[in-house]
Symmetry: C2
Subunit: 115 residues, 2 copies
DNA sequence: CGTACCTGCTAGCTTCTTTTTGCATGTGCG
DNA sequence: CGCACATGCAAAAAGAAGCTAGCAGGTACG
């Protein structure tokens, strides 16, 4: 999903929510410079591993980063993350299009019922 | 911030957070088609006025919509909202640049003091 | 073996966001 | 005057998100 793909409403919310956070912004920034493994990245950013994992998971769920498990020279398991080269342009029109495809939370509701 | 302005980190977070919500996406979508006043828009979207006000305030705080108070023919005060024609392109590089300018939470808040 | 790395997970607390509910104010009209 | 429509705000309830602390498992090296 490298270039300007038309995002569905739910996708868009997920991506925006994933990026709407200082820590996750810094994670994306760091990974855009160089891929990194979890522990090292946590040190680099000055946050705990557990916290970073949560943020990484959220970014991965939005498709903004991907993980690749590798074995280092000395046999340690290293989980390397890298950014997905996304390009997302936000305009009122793009949002209007995406909003059409928004999923309604649950049953009990259907657009155009009562006026 | 109409066209491709370089957003500061905090601005970016604010804008992304403002858009990362189904209701607010629908609000922007509706306003991009036609400006609307609060009560009417609430009916159109099927949500309460109070709730819509909160969402509108958040969108306005992010600079995505603006309000204009007008008097209708019959003297009622109508608060019309409209979208700001923003264009925001998100890429890892843009985020990396914005992340540089992120404000740190700062444990003790002191107006006027620099760090 | 103990230490130093790497990985992952969850329980529980805190904090922020979202939503509801209720009140207060103003104008025009039958 | 009371009803219908417009505006606003704010406290409190409900829910989601953020963060810490602790546990568990793996490999390598001195």
């Amino acid at each position: 999903m490298s270039s300007a793909a038309p995002p569905t409403g739910d996708d868009l919310v997920r991506v925006l929510a994933a990026l709407a956070n200082p820590h996750r912004l810094r994670v994306v920034a760091a990974l855009s410079r160089e891929r990194a493994y979890v522990s090292g990245l946590a040190r680099q950013l000055g946050i705990s591993r557990a916290l970073l994992q949560v943020h990484l998971r959220k970014l991965a769920a939005a498709g903004l980063v991907t993980a690749r498990l590798e074995l280092s020279e000395d046999g340690k398991a290293m989980n390397y993350y890298e950014v997905e080269p996304f390009v997302l342009t936000l305009t009122p029109q793009v949002i209007a299009a995406a909003a059409e495809t928004l999923t309604v939370p649950d049953s009990a509701e259907q657009p155009g019922a009562q006026r």
